[in-house]
Symmetry: C2
DNA sequence: CGCTTCTTTGACCCTTATCAATGGCTGTGG
DNA sequence: CCACAGCCATTGATAAGGGTCAAAGAAGCG
């Protein structure tokens, strides 16, 4: 845990049109609210299930995943964590995390104090609204995930996940949307096992399904790079109608 | 939609220890915030996916479910809606519902104005905290659901759902917890198809699994009444460790 | 280079979906 | 009061999607 290196005013995420634009005043407040930055190495745990964290975070860079582990050892990947995501809100508001957050690449996170959340809710109604918004977006996304896992077959599930991941990453990399439109390559630093655990599939079957999509020229995920020449077909396969809304930051 | 019939001061849910106790002041505020009550007949839709609702609601009585329907006709039940639940927050904050809410019994709901949410977040930090809390609880629950559907087999999934439903309903009916402890009967006004769609199982297999649980003396769901003589075993089958936290209301 | 981690591939089989038909309950109308 | 329609629960037979097991390539890394 280091001292603050990036001021909120220079936040690299802020200029990304994926996120809403905060006012000067809000930036000033957030700056004072920010405790510092945390860097986490790949494979390390950011937040542990069951732990009561005194902090919560916004992801500045790097990627990770939320997961839940059963006593039996099986695990479910709840979602993939990317820059701009808020993690640890559960612990901040309920006092305890009900899933873990782990880094898959080196991550750096903005650190906020748990007690500061109360202050934020009291003094910054706009920010309070943002927190609520982020929680609502999370709920929407989990609902969609649930529907996907509950109702679709393996090919559709994988198509859904690839499209969602690609869209999100493409918007981060290239806000203009060119990457998104042409299915251009984005970095996807996960293992097939992660995707399998996210979709309730076995590793083997995930691998074979990915191979089939690749052979069909729809999706190519190799060397940590994801390309979706057939984004349209994949989206229609997975019955994805509309896209995720723009989200607030912090 | 009728005029207000129940004042927040006399709210039948308030006295239930399942919920937190609000202050006089908060009650006064909520009373002014409440627009009225809405009654919905069984089978009717409370909120429609894709619709922009000008209101959001707290469930006063009756039960329903959140669901998502695919173009192909398949549906996923996202969760079961019970008294005390907040519905429509998505639309209030994001402008559009991403799932539908349908009544399975006659329901009555507290109606709040969407614009009032802004006011609430600004002027009632404690209530703002509650809203955030409710959103966080929802997220926790969806995460647990995801893990259940993604990782457990049919018997475990059904065991999980029955225990969760029973616990919640038992606490509503009998705050002392006697019902909960002895697995006593609670009203569960859903169809097997609803449970199947919630767990990503076919109706047939759900039925057969329920039959097996009944034969084993673990769970008996018939005539709309649910009894769980084997709550302990069911919970351990589904690897349920701890229970859901107490929740704020409104 | 040898070790570990991840990906890929083949063979087998189990859980669960699908199909199909019957039984039960409730409400309605002749 | 009975017949019929609709909805839901129940049960048996069959099949397929995906899990599990096993082992061999690739690829990063000290």
């Amino acid at each position: 845990m280091n001292s603050p290196t990036v001021s909120c005013f220079d936040c690299p995420l802020r200029c990304n049109p994926l996120f809403e634009v905060p006012s000067e005043d809000e930036l000033r407040y957030m700056s004072s609210f920010k405790l510092g930055e945390l860097t986490v190495e790949p494979g390390r745990t950011v937040l542990m299930e069951g732990a009561a964290s005194a902090q919560f975070y916004t992801v500045l860079e790097g990627m990770g995943l939320r997961q839940k582990t059963f006593p039996s050892g099986q695990r479910q990947v709840i979602s993939f964590v990317m820059p701009g995501d808020l993690v640890g809100l559960q612990a901040a508001v309920m006092g305890e995390m009900r899933h873990s957050v782990e880094a898959t690449t080196r991550m750096s996170l903005c650190v906020f104090d748990r007690n500061g959340l109360w202050d934020l809710l009291r003094n910054q109604p706009k920010r309070a609204y943002s927190v609520t918004w982020l929680a609502a977006v999370e709920e929407v996304f989990l609902g969609e995930t649930l529907a996907t896992i509950g109702q679709l077959d393996a090919t559709q599930r994988i198509a859904w996940a690839l499209v969602r991941l690609h869209d999100r990453l493409a918007m981060l990399d290239d806000p203009e949307g060119a990457l998104l439109a042409n299915g251009g390559p984005v970095a996807l630093p996960y293992r097939q096992q992660d995707l399998a655990d996210a979709l309730g599939l076995s590793l083997v079957h995930t691998n074979k399904t990915l191979a089939r999509l690749k052979a069909g020229g729809l999706a190519d995920w190799s060397g940590g790079q994801l390309r979706l020449p057939g984004r349209r077909q994949l989206a229609s396969l997975a019955m994805i109608d509309d896209e995720m809304p723009r989200r607030p930051l912090l």
